[in-house]
């Protein structure tokens, strides 16, 4: 059967770039002076400046990872860690400068806000330029703001949670993040409050040879619930850009949090992001993750199930095309009795792209009667691509149920033959099978988020094949 050539995803809707029109751009590189300058520019309180300086020391001590994709092309001396756009924080799109507003218009954010979101935050380069939330949520005590405002206005809440879930010395890029972080969102959902409509933050990196280091801190108190959506994109430049964000999630007892991410960075981006959730008693933490863009991605969200009966679910898909190396996965630590995790990961590699699924499931001595089930499937769309599965399963007690399954392969000729014998063209049959493969993930993505995600799925899976 003739091989169907799959073209690279058409990224035109994300690849437009705006002039690098900044208000302030820090000089490239990473030194104590630069970190102090960022701290000064951002008017940090003393405790935050100390965290930054301590993190820089940790960064200098830690080694690059000895595993995973080759990061040798990353040279911190070429990266500007802070770029302030020519805009202050606004709560009306009309006040956002025209070129920045146009960017978010083209990404469909204001439109989505009107139709289906309870709150929106939009970050351009290093600063958040727009933030708003529906009145009724404010009345219920929900806080949704940018991190800088949170540091100023809710210092106790931030201080007791900032870099506590993800310790500064977790790995080199977390330390880097803590030293130069800027922007990001802060969400606080008080006890018992259920936020029915999702909140969304969108991160856009426009400036070339720069880094984005946003910090997302979400606290969902006992019995509360929230759906948070994060979207990221950037135009393509010839030089490397770096994204080293950090997401800290605190899910209280009986609380529920769904965290959906669509990462569609451009293909010059190194995406070295860290995400971690601490889960209380009978809480529920759901991750939905789509990883499409970036040149190199190392992203392993993590749930730590500390409360009895806590549950977590991870549903993720990676799609690696030409020149991409997506090393993604999930980590879970069962640290209390009766905890459960369900992991469902899929990957598609094409055009010489490399997908790696790397994971950890650890069931500790403290977690009897826990259950974990892992399933990962990889689809190879041609014979020049690479797909690896590297899962670690660490079971330290006996009264558990653990199972792991992984499959790797191509589109079944039999299935194509069957569909073709029913009158469907070969291209349509292949597209149908690939869509079916991705369906368990795409159905988990919020329909309201159609603006960006559906475009992507269609472009990649429908338009791309044939």
């Amino acid at each position: 059967m003739a091989k169907t050539q799959i073209e690279d995803i058409n990224r035109n809707i994300y690849d437009f770039k705006k002039e690098d029109n900044y208000d302030y751009k820090i000089k490239k590189g990473l030194t104590k002076e630069i970190v102090e300058e960022i701290s000064k520019q951002k008017n940090d309180p003393d405790w935050m400046r100390e965290i930054r300086l301590h993190a820089l020391e940790v960064y200098n001590e830690l080694e690059l990872p000895t595993w995973g994709p080759d990061l040798s092309e990353l040279n911190m001396d070429d990266i500007a860690t802070y770029v302030r756009p020519k805009s202050k924080l606004n709560s009306s799109w009309d006040d956002v400068p025209e070129d920045i507003k146009d960017t978010f218009d083209r990404l469909g954010i204001p439109e989505a806000e009107k139709e289906s979101l309870a709150g929106v935050g939009a970050q351009y380069d290093s600063e958040v330029v727009y933030h708003s939330m529906k009145e009724e949520l404010k009345k219920q005590g929900v806080i949704y703001t940018d991190m800088e405002t949170a540091v100023r206005e809710y210092p106790d809440l931030v201080k007791s949670h900032f870099m506590k879930c993800v310790p500064v010395n977790d790995h080199k890029f977390v330390a880097l993040h803590a030293a130069v972080w800027s922007g990001g969102s802060f969400v606080y959902v008080p006890k018992g409050v259920k936020v029915d409509v999702p909140l969304q933050s969108y991160f856009r990196l426009n400036s070339p040879e720069s880094g984005q280091f946003e910090h997302t801190l979400i606290i969902v108190e006992e019995g509360a619930s929230l759906h948070f959506i994060e979207g990221c994109s950037a135009p393509k430049y010839n030089k490397v850009n770096l994204h080293a964000g950090c997401v800290e999630l605190y899910v209280g007892d009986n609380a529920h949090l769904r965290y959906s991410t669509i990462e569609n960075w451009s293909k010059n981006m190194l995406n070295l992001n860290t995400k971690k959730a601490l889960c209380g008693k009978n809480s529920e933490m759901e991750w939905v993750s789509g990883s499409f863009g970036s040149k190199i991605s190392m992203l392993y969200p993590m749930s730590i199930l500390n409360g009895e009966g806590a549950r977590t679910e991870f549903t993720g898909i990676s799609f690696a095309g030409k020149g991409q190396n997506l090393d993604n996965g999930f980590k879970v630590i069962h640290n209390a009795p009766n905890t459960k995790s369900v992991i469902n990961a899929k990957s598609i590699s094409k055009h010489g792209g490399k997908c790696t699924y790397r994971s950890l499931v650890r069931i500790t001595e403290n977690a009897p009667k826990s259950k974990s089930s892992v399933s990962c499937e990889s689809l190879m769309l041609d014979d020049i691509s690479v797909s690896d599965t590297i899962p670690t399963n660490d079971i330290r007690t006996d009264e558990v149920e653990f199972s792991h399954e992984a499959k790797i392969g191509k589109i079944s000729d039999k299935a194509i033959f069957y569909l073709m014998s029913r009158g469907i063209s070969e291209e349509d049959a292949k597209a149908m099978i690939v869509r079916g493969f991705a369906y368990p993930i795409s159905k988990e993505l919020p329909v309201e988020y159609a603006v960006e995600m559906n475009n992507l799925i269609n472009l990649e899976l429908e338009g791309a094949i044939g």
Partner: protein
């Protein structure tokens, strides 16, 4: 000492890239190992002794009529550093050659540890020429009542030429105060078939490295392995299979049970190399935990650079079924006996693969005494 490194590294925090043995020392004294026997088709034979490796090749010409030639080479200056990473300076060097077309050959190599023979560093080379049919059983067993420390570091290297059909069983029943390091290295050409059965019960530390290269078209390797740990035994198993040949087939089945504070690390890698079209690789690892202090770590990897292949792996850990236990106990069995029966049932399909009945019985008794 760091041993058994995986072909691809993962995060250091996962503790699965290698095994670090603390307080591990290679015994300095190496007085040779004399307590070994060889049987060919159940008949006890004296090995043909060659002075050197070249000698053994010369002997090959002398024994033209024989189907098989087993040579013990007394002098060799060669040092091996195989998969486990620990250098082996052989005090036993045995070469088994099955000549082209030889069929129905069964060889049994027995190494018995006792007060006099505590340090075995063996290199066994098995060479199966075209169209051969060979069955080899190798056992490492302590003499009854021998409970002292013994050290075993062995290498078993197999080359199977076109259409060779080889069946190998390796039994490790060393006592729990010993160290067992063993590496396997296989090379399979077109249509060669290899069945490996590995029974891994002994040693305070038992480190296994299994490496197989499926070069040939239609080459086929099945590995069935069981481990059974009690007290504070540590098993570190590193299985690596490279599929190069079209339609090559690898099947790794590892079944085990852990009692007391035993620990097992299983690392299994199936690597589909470019060009191995229609290759199939399956890997299944299952660990029965018989105590809340036992620990099971598994890293089942699939690496794939070829589209037209089929790779599956599955791994599971858990307690013995409570329902099954209850059923057996309601039929009058004690909990201990019921448990034994369940473990035995789990191992049974693999035990059936052992061709020699006395070895089968030996393993069976070992299961009873360990549980």
């Amino acid at each position: 000492m760091i041993l058994n490194e995986t072909p691809v590294r993962t995060s250091k925090n996962f503790n699965s890239n290698n095994i670090e043995l603390k307080n591990f020392e290679v015994p300095q004294e190496n007085n040779g190992f004399l307590n070994r026997n060889i049987y060919i088709n159940s008949e006890k034979k004296i090995m043909i002794v060659a002075e050197s490796q070249e000698d053994s090749e010369r002997l090959n010409d002398l024994y033209e009529d024989n189907k098989v030639l087993v040579t013990e080479i007394t002098k060799s200056d060669f040092k091996l550093k195989y998969g486990v990473g620990q250098e082996n300076n052989p005090n036993q060097f045995i070469r088994v050659l099955a000549k082209e077309g030889a069929t129905g050959v069964a060889i049994n190599l027995e190494f018995t540890f006792d007060e006099e023979n505590t340090n075995l560093q063996d290199a066994i080379e098995i060479y199966a020429e075209k169209d051969t049919d060979l069955d080899v059983t190798i056992s490492y067993v302590p003499n009854e009542e021998f409970g002292e420390y013994s050290y075993h570091n062995g290498v078993i290297k197999l080359t199977a030429l076109e259409n060779a059909n080889v069946n190998i069983t390796v039994v490790n029943l060393l006592n729990n105060s010993s160290d067992n390091l063993i590496s396997f290295e296989n090379k399979l050409l077109d249509n060669a078939k290899l069945n490996y059965t590995i029974i891994d019960f002994g040693g305070k530390n038992s480190i296994t490295n299994y490496y197989t290269d499926l070069f040939g078209k239609n080459s086929d390797n099945r590995v069935n392995s069981i481990y059974l740990g009690n007290n504070n035994q540590l098993f570190d198993l590193n299985y690596i299979a490279h599929c190069h040949g079209e339609k090559s087939n690898i099947n790794i089945e590892v079944q085990g049970a852990l009692k007391d504070e035993a620990i097992k690390h299983f690392k299994g890698t199936i690597d589909f190399k470019k060009g191995c079209k229609k290759a199939v690789g399956n890997e299944n690892e299952n660990c029965l935990l018989l105590s809340d202090k036992a620990k099971s770590l598994a890293l089942p990897m699939l690496l794939c650079s070829e589209e037209d292949v089929e790779g599956n792996h599955s791994s599971s850990s858990g307690k013995a079924g409570q329902k099954e236990l209850f059923y057996l106990m309601s039929r009058g069995l004690t909990e201990k006996d019921a448990m034994k029966l369940l473990v035995r049932a789990k191992f049974n399909t693999i035990l059936e693969g052992i061709t020699k009945n006395d070895v089968k019985e030996l393993v069976s008794n070992a299961i009873d005494s360990k549980l």
